[in-house]
Each structure stands twice: as structure tokens, then as C-alpha cells.
Symmetry: C2
Subunit: 296 residues, 2 copies
């Protein structure tokens, strides 16, 4: 395992530990099933790439890790809520996620809907608490940035586009816009969170935004490639679903080889946006390489 | 129509107008179906009691109405999201709401889930924006108060309890706790929002909290009474559902007469909590009377 992979794993563990603390369970309470489902959806071992982006971007500006880890945990809650809702029978109808039954299979549909709702809500609670940052302006900015990234003009809008894509084959600009909204904007605020927490300049925030933009697309192209190339066992979720649903993807439009080239090019371009930062941004540089090389 | 009812109606119109502005639709965009569904779920004519509580409590402390109306619109978005998700087939499976098809009947399940998610997200966006209050501490406090009221220990937890109540008949303390979480806490933050916006004392905030506590229970008891006494046409949604589902309610446990007495007593008690405020709190006093006298 490379040093980078160790770093990624350590950060993932720190975020999981914090999520565990933020979602305490009290078996005495009758609603504990809801909290169990929230924990099931968020404590299982993901790669925790978004939390890594938050913590790594915050480190560039010397932000204390107890501060950035809370923002990271909040953003991971949002990511997990989106997976729970996207997996629902009325949406993508997935039974398997990270090699485990999805939340509505493990529990039931109603509990999964509520667990998603509660994780989304909890994310805003965690950010708004004083422990996240002493300056309320920073907390309000984080709430605002996150909400814009994941609402009707961001992640949720992107999921709507994805559902509509089953009815009509999208072209390249349409798919790029869809993925930018569906996955790119949450990756974007994950990177910008560091600059917000560090009260950094607009220039720095823009550089991180540009990095995230390219990284997000590269990430999605590799996801599409894994969906074609990988088996469910390797990837931890059902593969080949987009092709089965007749959905256009980066890979169906570009072909595997050009898609791979495009992902590599975007990762390189992402790294170039970090030129104004010194070695403090090395984790973000390494992540760009990791994202295009990953097999799961 | 009484002066109070006119006031309630004028405030409802102001909130609806603001919601209309906050949810602009662009038919050119392919995801406009999502925004249509958000508008469908939030612009139809509700009584807008929660927004009235926000604006009326804010008026006690001289808060500018452009400020309190934004908080009111955000809280109404949360209320509307909760109705959309509660009506889903996997939850209460309701086809009719305010005399109209519910969101998933009008559109489809996936769109309804996403419209709810986006309304919840938008509520936090609206609160976090500078236009809601110049002081970021106030905005962060509002975000925090709202998130706590509607998460796993509040509204969503209460809905979980409500689903579990189909399996086992609850007793009076359990139903009171369920309703306190499911509807009481959102009513609570609606009243406290005024004190938060007005940077008022803890004492005032507690008085409004106590008022909201009693008002919320009275409101719910009357809801249960209307469910038994009213027709779908009068009430605007299916009635008799709780009895059909074998769920215990305030009315099934207390009987209609004692339930009615209890609601009246709670409304009186709610009004007494306002004794430390002068005539500025009259709209809240009148609302308590309205809540127990309403027929829909």
C-alpha cells in the first residue's frame, strides 16, 4: 500500500469514527431503527473521497483538523443520503451497494426514505454547530455553499436529469451537464470547503473549484468505465446497469479507449489548477492520480 | 371573515408570493419537471400556519418583515417536503392532499422523492443567505434550530414512530411524544424563529417555546378530531385513515368529548405563556383560538 493510500485510509477511519460519534444510538428509544438505518447507510466502508477532499483542501490553509473533519463528516452524510435515495425502487432500484444490501433492502422503503431525509438534515446541523468553526460567517457560508451544490440546480437536479435520461439518449454536452450537477457539484463544495474554512481568497477558492470540476468529470468517466469493465464483485455494486437501461454514458459516447484518455487528460488538467499551491496540495495531486487508476 | 382571518390570509399570500419568487421556473431546462413538482407541492393553498407563527413571533421583537418572511418561507418548504414524503406509497400512501392529487400521483414517485429532497435543501439555502438576516450568527442559529427540530430527534424521528405505531397500539405518553416530535417541534422552531431573528432573551425564547408546545398538541388533537368528524370534502384529505389503520390517536384514547376539552385547555394554557408580551403578541393569542375552532 502506498503512503497515499495509507493517508486515504487513515482519513476514512477518522471520518467514520466521527460519524459514529455524531450518530449515537440509544436502543431504549423506539425510533432507534431510524438511527440504525442512518448508521448502516453511513458507517459502512466507503472510499470517503469527498471527506478526503475537504480535509486535504483545508490543510492547504492550515485549518484545524477537528474543524475540517466535521465539515467532511457532514458532506459524507449528504453523499450517503443521496445513495440511499438513489437506490430506492422508484429511482435506480439497486439491491447492492459496496457489496452489501442497500438500505431499503436491509430495512424497508419507508425507513430508507426517512434515514436519507435525516442524514441530509443532520449534515446541516453538524455544519451549523459552533464546534465546526468559531466564526458564524464561515458556518453560514458552508451551509449556503453546500445547499446550492446539492439542491435543484445541483445534485438533486442532476438525479432528475439522470432519471429523464432513460427516456431519451443524451449527447455529450447534456451528459457532461448531468454529471456536473449529479456528482460534480458535491465534489466541488468538498474542495471549496477547505477555502471557506480557511477564509482564503477568492482566487484560491476558484482554483480549488476548477480542480474539483475536472476531478469530478474524471471520477465519473472512470465510474462509467468500471461499470462496463468491472464485475459486481470487484466494484461492490451491480454493473452494466446503464447499458441495460439504454442510458448514454461517457463510455457509450466516446468508446472505452477515448474515455480512458479523456479521464487521464482531465486528471492532469485538475493537477495544473493547483499550481498556485505549494507542497501542501500534494494530497490533492495524488488523489487525482488515484481517481483515474482505481479499480473499484 | 374576522380581522384575524384576513390577517392570516394576507400573510399566507405574502408567503406564497415569496415561495413563487424563490422557486423560479425555466421551462428551457430539462430538469424543470423537478422545479414544477417543488412548486406544485409548496404553492398550493395551505393555511400557512407555521409561516404565520414565524412572522407573528418576529413582530413581537420588531423584526423587519422581509427578514421574517424568508424564514417563514423556508419553514413552509420544510413542512411541504414532509407532506410530500409522508404521502408516498411506502409511507402513508395518500392520494389526496388539500383536495388535490398528492405530488407522486400528479408526477411520479421518483419526482416526488426528489422534489421533497430539494425543498428541504432549499430551506437551508434560503435561511443561510444574507438577505434573511445581516448577522451570520442569527442565520447559523436558525439553521441549527431548524435542523434539530426536523431531524432524527424531531420531525423525521416522529414520522418513524408514526410508522411503527401501526404495529402496536401506543398509550397516551407515547402518542404525546410522537406528536411532539412529528409536528410539535417544527411548530416550536416556527415560534422561536422570531426570537432568534430578534436576538431576544432566553426568557422570551422559552416563553414562545412553551406557547408552541401547547399550541402544537392542541393543533394535533383537533387534527385527530377532524379525522373522525370531518368528511374528505371538508378537510381536503382522506379522513378516517388512522382508525382504519388501527392507530391509537388522542381521540381514540380520550374520546371525542375529552379530546375537545383537552384541546381547549391547551389553547388557553398556550395563551398564558404569552403573558410577558404586550399586545404585540395578540396575533399569536388569536391563532390559539383559531387552531381549536377550525373546521379544516
Amino acid at each position: 500500500m502506498s503512503d497515499f493510500q495509507k493517508q486515504l485510509r487513515e482519513n476514512a477511519k477518522a471520518v467514520t469514527d466521527l460519524l459514529d460519534k455524531l450518530l449515537p444510538i440509544d436502543d431504549e428509544k423506539p425510533e432507534s431503527k431510524l438511527i440504525e438505518a442512518m448508521r448502516y447507510a453511513s458507517l459502512s466502508s466507503g472510499k470517503r473521497i469527498r471527506p478526503f477532499l475537504v480535509v486535504s483542501s483545508a490543510e492547504i490553509f492550515g485549518v484545524a483538523s477537528q474543524s475540517s473533519l466535521r465539515a467532511a463528516a457532514a458532506i459524507e452524510m449528504v453523499h450517503c443520503y443521496s445513495l440511499v435515495h438513489d437506490d430506492l425502487p422508484a429511482m435506480d432500484d439497486d439491491d447492492l451497494r459496496r457489496g452489501q444490501p442497500t438500505c431499503h433492502i436491509k430495512y424497508d422503503e419507508a425507513t430508507a426514505i426517512l434515514a436519507g431525509d435525516a442524514l441530509l438534515t443532520k449534515a446541516f446541523e453538524v455544519i451549523a454547530e459552533e464546534a465546526t468553526h468559531a466564526d458564524p460567517q464561515v458556518r453560514a457560508n458552508l451551509v449556503l455553499g453546500l445547499a446550492k451544490a446539492i439542491g435543484e440546480e445541483g445534485m438533486v437536479g442532476g438525479q432528475m436529469l439522470d432519471l429523464l435520461a432513460e427516456q431519451r439518449e443524451l449527447d455529450m454536452p447534456e451528459i457532461t451537464r448531468l454529471q456536473r450537477m449529479k456528482t460534480g457539484m458535491l465534489i466541488g463544495i468538498s474542495c471549496e470547503a477547505g477555502a471557506i474554512l480557511g477564509k482564503s481568497s477568492e482566487q484560491n477558492r476558484h482554483a480549488l473549484h476548477a480542480y474539483a470540476h475536472d476531478l469530478g468529470l474524471a471520477f465519473q468517466i472512470v465510474d462509467d468505465l468500471l461499470d462496463v469493465e468491472g464485475t459486481a464483485e470487484e466494484v461492490g455494486k451491480q454493473t452494466g446497469k446503464d447499458a441495460d437501461a439504454g442510458k448514454a454514458t461517457f463510455v457509450s459516447l466516446l468508446g472505452q479507449e477515448r474515455a480512458r484518455d479523456q479521464a487521464d487528460m482531465l486528471a492532469q488538467q485538475a493537477i495544473q489548477h493547483l499550481d498556485l499551491f505549494k507542497e501542501q496540495a500534494d494530497p490533492l495531486r495524488e488523489l487525482a492520480g488515484f481517481v483515474v487508476e482505481r479499480r473499484t
